[in-house]
């Protein structure tokens, strides 16, 4: 899609875990600017852990994370949004006792995004018209689909160059899921690079350029999204065909 | 992890320090003292300690007891009853003292009674006035100060001699000391024909007693009888002015209202708010007993201020202990208790002799704060000054 010199995001030989439990053994992947890339894998394969390592919530025990040519492996979570990475975590993780607007505002908390918070809010409300109606409502009282919209919009408030999306369809009806994915596609069209973790393999891959398959903390396969969708092993393992 | 270790280490250190009870080396005679050196009653505990110290120096200057120097092992009960009991256990079980003096307050002293009774070690009570300390009936407890009934009797007789007011309000802290004194006053005053129009216990150490005082004020008592420690006595008097509470006689069961600091205007006292208040008293520097003046001088030299009766009681208690040990010629608790029962000793605090229940019959007089000083105003034959009915706050300036 673009002709950037190197990849926007590059993971090389990442190992990570929780206490004594090692979740990632060797993760290497890259995301080029403007791409939508999907991580596929079974529950517990290490997809979410990979996103957490990128966003600084979990420190890698080995390997490097490079973003836009800079080593960000050792950066703490709170320093990541300022670099241009937004992480929309699994399960929405909204601030339930704050209004939609307050939630969105916190998305632009970091110093780089703050000056443009006002304009960013208008952008998000235009992108998600439903949220405009609900802007003064407490986030905890919204429906699941609306909450997911808030979570994504909050991530976009930082005007990120890379958006990490963890299971955006989790718990949503097929109709709402479709809508969410349509929005993600829109976001990609606006030039935001997206790395998405999705259990719903067909939906995920069908809006993506490329995909990586993770098993037991290792990348076992990767390729163009369309090619993966046709792959027999993938169809057998993840699509039940 | 670090903070846990720190905390653990601290615990180990403090427990270790607590366990390191000194064993007597046989070169001294030891007695134990429990008093409140820290906590809310520390002002009185320090007065105790000064009294004991003066007595100890006197005793040892005269050659000690049974040819050996007397040694006092202090235990600070932190103004808490459970700590006072701990003190008894520690002094007897670890330091092996055959005689204990203390504590300061009624709450703590009452808690110590079963502990000494169980271990069969005599206890000399210097200052605690609650009647239930003696009513427990322990043969090991000997009290040199007057109890709350004696306080109530003297106050009632004083009132009878001064126009016999009819209505009485009781305001007292909700502790053994306060309840015991209020109950005694209620009994004695009712028997004398007075009506108790308000009976108000309170939570000690509160910042605000105005509602309580308003409530009592509405009953319009002629007399109010307080049983309070110093902190609350000061607050109560200040806030009496605020709510314009004007009984004709502001009387009290001593303690806070008789503390040396109470009528002073330092940061501790009530200053001008203390003026005209009456209090029971067990001793004044001007008391007629031999040694009163000398003790007053020694105390003033040590601390720079005059003693209240609590210090004198501690002083007399240790002199009594030395007398008893000399007569018992033994460090066995039983022999010491026997000697206590046969006591006949003149002290600066007056003569000490115990009745069958272990109580010393000590006379109780009444003082009034006049021009910032405690003046003996009752009984009439020894009075320094005439009692003055308490004027209304609005008439004072």
């Amino acid at each position: 899609m673009t002709a950037a010199a190197g990849p926007l995001l590059e993971l090389a030989g990442i190992r990570a875990g929780y206490g004594d439990f090692q979740a990632l053994f060797d993760i290497s992947l890259e995301v080029r600017a403007g791409e939508i890339v999907t991580l596929i894998g079974a529950n517990g394969a290490g997809k979410t852990t990979t996103l957490r390592v990128i966003s600084g919530s979990l420190r890698a025990t080995a390997g490097t994370v490079r973003f836009d040519g800079h080593d960000i492996t050792q950066l703490p979570a709170h320093a990541i949004p300022e670099r241009g990475i937004s992480h929309v975590p699994e399960g929405r993780q909204l601030f339930p006792h704050m209004t939609v607007e307050e939630n969105l505002d916190l998305g632009a908390y970091n110093r780089r995004s703050r000056p443009r918070a006002r304009a960013a809010l208008d952008d998000q409300l235009a992108l998600f018209p439903r949220l405009k109606e609900r802007r003064r409502q407490l986030a905890g009282t919204l429906s699941g689909g609306e909450q997911q919209m808030v979570a994504i919009a909050r991530g976009l408030m930082a005007a990120p160059r890379l958006l990490l999306l963890d299971e955006p369809s989790l718990g949503l009806s097929p109709k709402i899921t479709e809508e969410v994915f349509a929005r993600v596609q829109d976001i990609g069209k606006r030039g935001v690079t997206v790395l998405i973790v999705e259990q719903n393999v067909v939906d995920g891959l069908s809006i993506s350029d490329r995909g990586y398959v993770i098993e037991n903390g290792r990348v076992v396969m990767h390729g163009a999204a369309a090619a993966l969708l046709r792959d027999d092993k993938i169809r057998a393992a993840y699509l039940g065909l | 992890m670090r903070p846990t270790w720190l905390l653990g280490a601290l615990l180990v250190v403090s427990v270790g320090a607590a366990c390191k009870g000194k064993q007597g080396d046989g070169k001294t005679i030891r007695v134990g003292v429990v008093t409140s050196l820290t906590g809310s009653q520390a002002a009185f505990g320090l007065a105790h300690k000064n009294g004991y110290t003066i007595a100890l120096n006197e005793i040892n200057a005269k050659g000690g007891v049974m040819g050996k120097p007397l040694e006092v092992v202090f235990y600070d009960d932190q103004s808490k009853p459970d700590q006072a009991v701990q003190g008894v256990a520690k002094l007897i079980d670890q330091d092996h003292v055959p005689l204990i003096l203390g504590s300061f307050g009624s709450e703590n002293t009452r808690a110590m009674v079963p502990a000494v009774d169980q271990r069969k070690v005599p206890l000399i009570v210097p200052t605690a006035t609650a009647d239930n300390i003696m009513e427990a009936g322990s043969p090991w407890v000997f009290r040199i100060c007057a109890g709350s009934s004696a306080y109530a009797t003297s106050t009632t007789n004083f009132l009878k001699d001064n126009g016999a007011p009819r209505t009485l309000a009781l305001i007292y802290e909700n502790t053994n000391f306060g309840q015991s004194n209020a109950a005694a006053m209620k009994t004695v005053a009712t028997a004398a024909g007075m009506t108790v129009v308000a009976d108000e216990g309170y939570q000690p150490k509160s910042p605000d007693y105005k509602a309580l005082l308003q409530r009592v004020k509405a009953k319009e008592p002629e007399v109010v009888y307080y049983a309070s420690y110093l902190l609350d006595a000061v607050t109560l008097m200040r806030q009496s002015e605020e709510v314009d509470f004007n009984p004709k006689f502001v009387t009290s069961a001593g303690t806070g209202f008789s503390a040396a600091e109470f009528p002073t205007s330092t940061d501790k006292g009530a200053g001008k708010y203390a003026e005209y208040t009456f209090s029971v008293s067990q001793w004044l520097p001007s008391s007629p007993w031999a040694g009163s003046k000398e003790f007053d001088e020694a105390f003033t030299k040590l601390t720079g201020g005059h003693p209240a009766y609590h210090a004198t009681q501690a002083y007399a208690a240790l002199l009594l202990a030395a007398d008893v040990l000399s007569r018992a010629k033994s460090d066995q608790p039983t022999a010491i208790a026997d000697a206590l029962r046969k006591t006949k000793l003149d002290t600066a605090f007056g003569p000490i002799q115990f009745d069958a229940k272990g109580q010393n019959a000590h006379p109780v007089s009444i003082t009034q704060v006049q021009h910032g000083q405690y003046k003996l105003v009752w009984p009439g034959d020894s009075a320094e000054s005439k009692p003055v009915a308490t004027p209304a706050w609005s008439e004072r300036h």
Partner: protein, 292 residues
């Protein structure tokens, strides 16, 4: 008439005391709301604030009405240091560890105060204490209480606005509601929590300074306030600072009315009856469970 006026006076007194309770309770609610730690050293820190104000008054003749600002600044600093030195390390541990730690801090502070200042108590006898304002014949207000009340209202309102409206306050609330998401927003959780703990202590610094003129001071003076603050936090809805503000005032008024109509000795009993009642009937507090 007389009856109504007496009740009115009691309510007024309750408001005056309650405003200080509110400030103390708001500090504890802030700490609890953000960190989920019940600060059992709250009263001990109040005591530190009182001693700081007293020392300034006694040695340098600084009035407590200026001194309380210094006490608050001091406690803010102590709070940040305590967080970094101790609390931070138990943030993810069991509640038992946290209770043990804050109780330990309380013991060390109280013991330290006894060593440094002695167990004896002190009072700042300001000339202002002798000033009473009379409203009609029956209503009296003691000037220092009124002044403390006025300052407390300003501080409590300021604290509320700061937490609800400012950028930093929004970050605090974000941590309280979702610590993980807060860090993803770029909020420096550790630094913000340290400041939150500092602010919670600054509230007792303010309160301590304002309490000094109307109360007395000794090393264990704070113990009772820890209990009251805890009651207020539960009553206000665990961790809601506006709930704590209202609960503090309510508690002050209830205590005062209890004292007037039922007797002072019941005040503490009523406190704890309310506490147990709220816990068993409405565990989310009288005013809902909205966190900070």
């Amino acid at each position: 008439m007389e009856f109504t006026l007496r009740a009115l006076q009691a309510v007024l007194n309750g408001l005056l005391t309650g405003s200080l309770y509110a400030l103390i309770g708001m500090g504890m609610a802030l700490i609890f709301g953000v960190m989920r730690i019940v600060n059992f050293a709250h009263g001990a820190f109040l005591m530190v604030g009182m001693y700081a104000t007293y020392m300034l008054y006694d040695h340098l003749h600084v009035t407590p009405y200026v001194g309380f600002l210094v006490a608050a600044a001091l406690l803010l600093g102590i709070g940040v240091l305590t967080y970094h030195g101790l609390l931070r390390w138990v943030a993810e541990r069991s509640h038992f560890m946290q209770i043990l730690l804050t109780l330990g801090i309380a013991l060390i502070l109280t013991g330290g105060a006894q060593l440094v200042f002695g167990a004896d108590y002190h009072k700042a006898n300001l000339p202002l204490l002798d000033v009473n304002l009379h409203l009609g014949r029956h209503i009296t207000i003691n000037a220092p209480w009124l002044l403390s009340f006025a300052i407390t209202v300003v501080l409590a309102t300021g604290m509320f606005l700061f937490v609800m409206k400012s950028r930093f306050g929004r970050a605090l609330r974000a941590i309280a509601q979702n610590r993980y998401a807060a860090s993803l927003m770029g909020i420096h959780v550790v630094r913000t929590e340290a400041l939150a703990f500092g602010l919670g202590l600054a509230a007792v610094g303010f309160a301590g300074g304002l309490l000094l003129p109307v109360f007395y001071l000794y090393p264990t003076v704070g113990d009772e306030f820890t209990g009251k603050a805890f009651v207020i936090v539960v009553l206000g809805g665990m961790g809601s600072i506006e709930g704590a503000a209202v609960a503090g005032v309510v508690l002050g008024v209830i205590e005062s009315l209890t004292s007037l109509y039922w007797g002072n000795e019941w005040a503490l009993t009523v406190d704890f009856a309310i506490f147990l009642g709220v816990l068993s009937l409405r565990p989310s507090g009288l005013f809902g469970s909205q966190r900070v």
